[in-house]
Symmetry: C2
Subunit: 407 residues, 2 copies
């Protein structure tokens, strides 16, 4: 879908690599440069017994890797040439390194005036922030966790990194689109804190706080404003059921057989269960009616009835249960393939979640080892000769996969 587009990535951790991944999985040629030995994220946990990072392997799939000694001027010059290399479909740079010194926008733009450069930062004033610190301040942690909890609960998913990485891909595509019309480049700044705080505003949390001075409390696993709750099954599993639309509500009532008792509950709560907000208000009573149905059935029995009735629900699963039991995260799902990763072995590996009907989708790809494409990129993108490339190796300015891994 994006074949031909070349993106250079200078990055570490989640957000920027994820933005590059989203583009690589759509067929863009994403070239990630790292310093020889790898950046701060090259050995991040989880790692295999041999110390290979599953985290790095996950976030750099389908990219090309070049290893350059970025502490030396000659290495920085090579990276600069890569970032600013000519070509209508090139000159797109994604980074979360400080946009200072040799990576300052001015320093790069004198080499390519129409560069599209997106820089990910922590706070909008340039000070440090990461997903965890931004989340703490976003309000979300105080609305997460058990009912009545007085302590904030962090979510484990790095949701703000994810939203920032995907926003980065949007920003690059939007600016590259504009460049194709106007010929003009762009410097784009994107802060984790801005992503988080604009999003809690988009979702109405801030408006509720501003207008009604209301902080949404932690609701356990309940959904806010509708009927959604988790239940235990007879065999010690748990399920999440959700009834937002009237149709979802009716199928859930029918499946769990509580229909005859609802009018009494409606009277007791002066509620009308055709209304979403009334189902939310009386949710504890509704859940108490439903609970025995789930407790009397195994997960398989629950699954059978809920699926037959078309209820919106899902089983809670651990990661191993997801991999072992769920076809949606298996090679039965065409987005996933069993792909050999260098240094790791075969891994269940996803492609982009975007399925294009009219175009072959990019197949799942592995991540490169650090420096796998060093020589190829130097030759193909920068036009260096075998002789020049040999000299760069001899001088320790670049390294390829066999030798890039030394710190």
């Amino acid at each position: 879908m994006l074949s031909g587009l070349r993106v250079v990535e200078g990055s570490a951790f989640v957000a920027a690599p994820l933005g590059g991944l989203a583009l690589a999985q759509l067929g863009a040629d994403v070239i990630r440069f790292d310093t020889i030995g790898g950046g701060l994220d090259y050995k991040r946990w989880p790692v295999t017994d041999e110390g290979v990072s599953l985290y790095w392997a996950g976030l750099n799939k389908g990219k090309r890797s070049i290893a350059i000694d970025l502490s030396r001027d000659e290495g920085r010059e090579l990276a600069t040439e890569l970032i600013t290399a000519p070509g209508d479909d090139a000159g797109v740079f994604l980074s979360n390194f400080p946009a200072q010194g040799w990576l300052a926008d001015d320093a790069l733009r004198v080499r390519r005036r129409d560069l599209v450069y997106l820089n990910i930062i922590g706070n909008p004033d340039g000070s440090t922030a990461v997903d965890y610190t931004v989340n703490a301040s976003s309000g979300i942690a105080t609305a997460t966790g058990p009912v009545g909890s007085l302590l904030p609960v962090n979510h484990t998913l790095p949701a703000w990194d994810i939203a920032t990485g995907l926003n980065a891909a949007i920003g690059l595509l939007a600016a590259e689109r504009q460049r194709r019309t106007t010929g003009e480049g762009q410097f784009i700044s994107l802060s984790l804190a801005d992503v988080a705080f604009t999003m809690v505003a988009n979702l109405g949390f801030l408006a509720q706080a501003q207008l009604m001075h209301e902080n949404r409390p932690p609701l356990g696993n309940d959904m806010y404003g509708a009927f959604g709750r988790d239940f235990a099954t007879r065999d010690g599993r748990r399920v999440m059921v959700v009834a937002i639309s009237l149709n979802q509500w009716r199928t859930l009532v029918r499946a769990t057989g509580i229909e005859e008792h609802l009018p009494q509950i409606e009277r007791a709560f002066q509620a009308d269960f055709t209304k979403e907000e009334d189902r939310y208000r009386a949710r504890d009573a509704i859940a108490a009616l439903m609970k025995p149905w789930f407790e009397a059935r195994t997960l398989d029995e629950v699954r059978k009835t809920l699926d037959e009735q078309g209820v919106c629900w899902g089983p809670y699963q651990t990661f191993t249960q997801l991999v072992d039991d769920d076809w949606r995260a298996s090679t039965e799902n065409t987005l996933f393939g069993m792909v050999a990763h260098p240094g790791i072995g075969p891994l269940l590996t996803p492609a982009s979640p975007l399925r294009f009907a009219e175009t072959p989708n990019e197949p799942p790809a592995s991540a490169p080892l650090l420096g796998t494409h060093t020589d190829e990129v130097l030759h193909q993108v920068l036009g260096l000769s075998a002789h020049d490339i040999g000299r760069l190796h001899d001088d320790g300015i670049v390294a390829s996969a066999a030798s890039a891994d030394h710190t």
Copy 2:
């Protein structure tokens, strides 16, 4: 940035409206059509005392709204004409309605062959799923919450809806880019479950489960694989501190004054605290050393020292604290403006988090009332005369803001 691009949106809830919002906030002309009276999300909580949905207002900012009776053939024909209207920058459709009947890809594509149509679904097989049910099955809920928790903990942030909406914007921009080169349209399917399960694979959770049969346990508010933890302050507030890089670690040690005690802890744990994984392994001991420093200081005192030392940290805040105390979610941040929303009043309103240096950014905008732009869109996009538009109103096929709100 995207001015000129026209996107038609037929949507409800979070993911699809959020995808449209991301494009509208970059200047695209996003026209959302709804049935007269509003869709399932038009009255979603939180609502004002007058029943106006802050949720709807947050997710539809900067869009145009047209209200059409979608239960009648004539209304569906109007919506079809809107979706398939001519123009190089038009013919882009985003929806989470079932792609069936009049919204089937075939039915629309006979009217505009090069349509770019992205359809958001629940599961990849087309069955129902929402953020909550997908999250339950993703494994993430079993890795969230207090240490030792045996029950899954849902995150309150609709993270999978967010990731799906942003992926939708990426998919539309990528396909529209391809159309400009090849002239070809595209049907794109995007499932919430695929977004979630490919993402837990991207982040290494699935690889860890597959290769090492390991399920990451809930870690409370600790960060995995590095030193990151929350602490209480003397005045009853809490802060999150993070030390990933060696530099972040050293500034945190210096700020909290624990340096002299670290060698003993290192010996006791056979650890080398220049290594990230050793700091993670000995995190409870490290935290026990730091805890008294935080407990002896107010949040303001903590803030002063940590900021001076350049520590990566953030205070936990409720939504009201975020709105009242944090400049990053205030009009001091140029991304936010105080904008009057019809039916609500002035709201702290964000623009896109993407800051473009070379182009004026789109200012924060309010959401329309349902049907605000009905006549304008019918005239401007479909070329209908005042007479024709009047007839559609008389027949109840369309409604404008004053009358669209009736159910």
